[in-house]
Structure formats: structure tokens, C-alpha cells
Amino acid sequence: MTNVWTVATNTFREAVRDRVLYNLVFFALLMMGAAILVGQISMGIEESVIVSLGLTAISVIGIFIAVFIGVGLVSKEMDKRTLYALLAKPVERWEFLLGKYVGLVMTLTVNTAAMAVGLYVAMWTVKHPLAKSDWFLLVAVYLILLKLALIVALAMLFSCFTTPFLAILFTLGIYIAGVFAQDLRTMQVVDLNPATMKLLRGISYLLPNFDNFNVMGAVAHERGVPGRLVWQDTWYAILYCASVLAAAAMVFSRRNLK
């Protein structure tokens, strides 16, 4: 486990050195602009739009980092040939992979936490003091983080067996398909035969259901999120990430690195 932690902390440091956290400046500017503008150009949605805009920005920026950096975690080490030096040491391939994963999730956690603080500051400027229901925001931010952890796992899986460009396409494709997983399950199509319907239903359960983590609408309107849902989502993310990372480790361990 020490090896995993060493790789993770180095991945985190590398991300900071690569100025990944610079996106926070963009986020801060966006939130400041929204806090000033929205009250003047709209009606009655000053608070809810700050929440939905803030959560959307946290999610979109996080997805970009998760996909683009996640895909590069392994391929960059291979291109720069630093991977060979590392694997020559007593580090297992799965340890390397897990360390990289944990490192990026750590980066995303720091990034998301900083953006959440920025969001609270923006909210405070629009209405102060903050209400009790405003703490539901933290639940939404936590669920976004779970989603990002899942996307990183998928990006790493794809980057283990294909080119970075295709890995990005596959990850974004699975993300979009995952957003519609619920629709795939409940879709009513007259022409499809029962076998195809069953197949679609099966695929909908295999796809990562990103809709599970979406509570933006509820939180933007100060509605609570059931604790049981948060618990179930946490386990869903853990199980899904573990499965995807196991698959990634299997592929990576068999990959010919010569």
C-alpha cells in the first residue's frame, strides 16, 4: 500500500505543477460575474441560478480534468518512458495504476472542495446569512465527486488498451450514454421485439448510471436529498470503480510494454 500512496502523492504533485488547479481562477470569475449579473437580467432566480451554475461548473470542469488528465495518466508515463524506470522497481502494475487513480481523485477532491468554497462565497454575496437548506449543496458536491471518480476509472480503463484520442472519445461516449441509462431502461418503442428490449435493459444496467448522482435540480430549489440515496450512490460508485479498476489492472498487467 506504501507504493500506491507514493505514486498517488506524486501524481497529485505533478497535477499541481502542471497548473491543473488554475481552472479555479476561471471558476471564481464565472461565479463573481454570475452573482453580479443574474439579479439584473432575470427575475426571482438569483439564488437558484447561482447554485445550478456553480454545480454545473464544478461538474463540467471536473469532467474535463477527469477525462483529459485521466487518459494521460498512463499514456504520458509511457511516452516519456518514465513508466519503465518505475516498473523496474518493486512496484506492481496494479499498484501503479491504483496510485495514479488515487492521485487524480485527490486532485479532483481538492479542486472540487475549493470550488465549493467559492460557490458558498458567491451564495453569501447574493443572500446572507445562509439558510440551513444551503448545506444540501455539500451533498450535491459530494455526489459530483463520486461521478468524477467513476469517470477517472473509465478514462484509465480505456487508456490502458487504446490511444489517448480514442480513450477520450470512449470515455465521453460512455459518459453521455450513462446520462441516458435511465431512459434506455424506461424507453417505450413499439417496433422493437422483446429480445432487443431485454438486451437494451441489460445494457442500461451495465452502463454507469450518471443520473444517480444528479441532484442539482433538487438542491437548486432547496429540496433535501434522502440520506439513503447518498448511501446507495456511495456504494454504487465504490463497486463500479472497483470493477472498472480491476478490469483496467487486468488489461494493463497483460499489456506488452516493450
Binding site: 432566480i45 437558484s48 454545473t56 450518471f210 433538487a218 430549489h221
Partner: protein, 297 residues
């Protein structure tokens, strides 16, 4: 060296002239396209469900954007005194499809739709549709019943339905007591200036939006005038009973001790007695035009 400096100045001048030309040209193109641009938007994004799918997980933000577009569209039309509000309903439809819990879109949107031109689109039927959709998605929010009752009362002039809406809303434990009182009053009397004044007062007190507050304030002023005129006429009738002739000036009512001082409208203009001794607004009062507009509705 010298020729390079000249070329530099020339290029700089060309750059400035180019951008100045582009700026002026864009202004003309904007003026040319002002009418058609909005129509193109409508064609591109007509279906709320399609926009929802395209929004992926971010439908609440898109809902807020569409609601802002609706506000901007309504405000712009209002500013330009244009009565064509064809896009208002599609914009509100998309905004509430994207975010069914966007309460301001139902509350303010129904006002935009129901109010008579030039204040609104003059479509109380669509306002009712919007509010009913809002109530389906937010059954616990009693203020939507208040808005529904207001639309039926003020714009659709359907008093049984207005009373039913207030009655239904009053069943919510969070609803204010006056909802039940209004339900009974409207069911019994239909429209009356006192009820209208009270309902506008509720709108005025319950909103934080300056535009809605101003609209409610204007209506309250007009309602105040109606109530004042009614009272002055009542006193003029009493004066007639006492003296045997109809007063032709307000000062006669003052001298008889029926009124303390010359009564003034909410803008400070004294009321007058017109033809047949009936109380009227002063010819110089800006409220006169608004009253006539209300009567023409």
C-alpha cells in the same frame, strides 16, 4: 527605417478604420435582423423535451437560462411597445419543461401571459395552463393557487373558478387565512373593488421583484381611485338627500361637513365633481389615462 515607421502608422490607421467600419456595419446588420433573429431562435429550440435531452445533466441551469431569455424577451417587447408576444409561451414552456420546479417561471410567467396588452400577452388560457402544470409539479406550493385564482379573477373574469382556486389553495396548512376568506367572498359577490384592492395588496406584499411590485402598486392606485370615487358619490348622494339638490363642486361637500378638506387621488390631484354631480378624476391627473385604459379592457 523611415518607410517602416510610415508603414506601421498606415497599418495602425487601417486597423482602426477597419474596426470602426465593422462596428458601424454590425449596428446596421443588427437593426436589419432585429425582427427576424428571435424567430430563428424559436425555430431552433421549440421542443422542451429535445432541449432537455441535449442539456444532459444540466437541465436546471438551462431552465434558468430559458427563463432569463423569457424575461429579456418580455422586457424588450415591453420597452419597444410591441404587442406581438408569440415567443413568450414557447420560452416559458421550455423553461418549465427543463426545470419543473422553477417557481418564478410559473408565478411571473403567468402574469406576463395573462395581463391584457400592452402590459402582457392577454392569454389567460395559457397562464392557466402554465399554472396547472406548475401545480402538478409543485403541489405543496400554495402560492400557485393564489396566482391561479388571480388569473381567473382579474383576467379570465371567471369568478366561480377563481373562488375554487383560492379554496383549493386554502387547504394547504401553510396557506394564509385570507385565501379561504377570498374564496367565500368571490363565490358570493363575484368582482368588487374591495376584493380587487385586497388581492393586489397581497401581490404587492408577497413579491420582492421591483417590476411586479410596481405593477401591483399601479393597480392599487387605480383601485384606490375606484374606492374613493365610490365613497365621494355616496357622500354626494347623502348631500343631495339633505339639501334637495346635487352638489356641483367638492367644496360644497366640505362646507356641509361631509368631507374634511378636498380629497385627493393617490398622485395628489384633487378629485372633481363632473357632469351630473358624479365624482371624477382631475383632468390633469396622469391616472385618468390609466383608468380609461382599464375601462377599455
Amino acid at each position: 527605417m523611415k518607410s517602416r515607421t510610415v508603414a506601421g502608422w498606415l497599418l495602425g490607421a487601417l486597423l482602426l478604420a477597419g474596426f470602426a467600419g465593422v462596428w458601424q456595419l454590425q449596428k446596421r446588420i443588427d437593426a436589419e435582423q432585429r425582427v427576424t433573429r428571435v424567430e430563428q431562435d424559436e425555430l431552433a429550440f421549440r421542443s422542451g423535451n429535445l432541449v432537455k435531452k441535449l442539456s444532459l445533466e444540466y437541465a436546471p441551469l438551462m431552465g434558468a437560462i430559458y427563463w432569463t431569455r423569457a424575461v429579456q424577451y418580455f422586457g424588450e417587447k415591453h420597452r419597444l411597445h410591441q404587442k406581438n408576444l408569440e415567443l413568450l409561451w414557447p420560452l416559458l414552456d421550455i423553461a418549465t419543461t427543463l426545470d419543473p420546479h422553477l417557481l418564478p417561471a410559473y408565478r411571473f410567467g403567468s402574469m406576463f401571459l395573462s395581463d391584457h396588452p400592452p402590459r402582457g400577452a392577454g392569454r389567460p388560457d395559457l397562464a392557466v395552463q402554465l399554472l396547472e402544470r406548475g401545480l402538478k409539479a409543485n403541489p405543496d406550493y400554495w402560492r400557485l393557487y393564489q396566482d391561479l385564482g388571480n388569473v381567473y379573477y382579474f383576467d379570465a373574469k371567471d369568478y366561480p373558478k377563481a373562488a375554487a382556486a383560492y379554496e383549493e389553495g386554502s387547504k394547504n396548512p401553510k396557506a394564509l387565512v385570507w385565501m379561504k376568506v377570498m374564496a367565500a367572498k368571490i363565490a358570493a359577490e363575484g368582482e368588487s373593488p374591495e376584493t380587487s384592492y385586497f388581492l393586489w395588496q397581497q401581490v404587492y406584499e408577497s413579491t420582492t421583484d421591483p417590476a411586479v411590485k410596481q405593477n401591483a402598486e399601479e393597480h392599487l392606485k387605480l383601485m384606490r381611485v375606484v374606492l374613493d370615487l365610490k365613497e365621494i358619490n355616496r357622500l354626494a348622494d347623502e348631500y343631495e338627500k339633505q339639501t334637495g339638490h346635487r352638489a356641483t363642486r367638492i367644496s360644497e361637500l366640505v362646507q356641509a361637513g361631509l368631507i374634511k378638506g378636498a380629497p385627493k387621488d393617490p398622485l395628489g390631484y384633487p378629485y372633481v365633481l363632473g357632469e351630473g354631480g358624479k365624482a371624477e378624476l382631475n383632468l390633469y391627473s396622469p391616472l385618468l389615462e390609466q383608468m380609461l385604459m382599464e375601462k377599455l379592457r
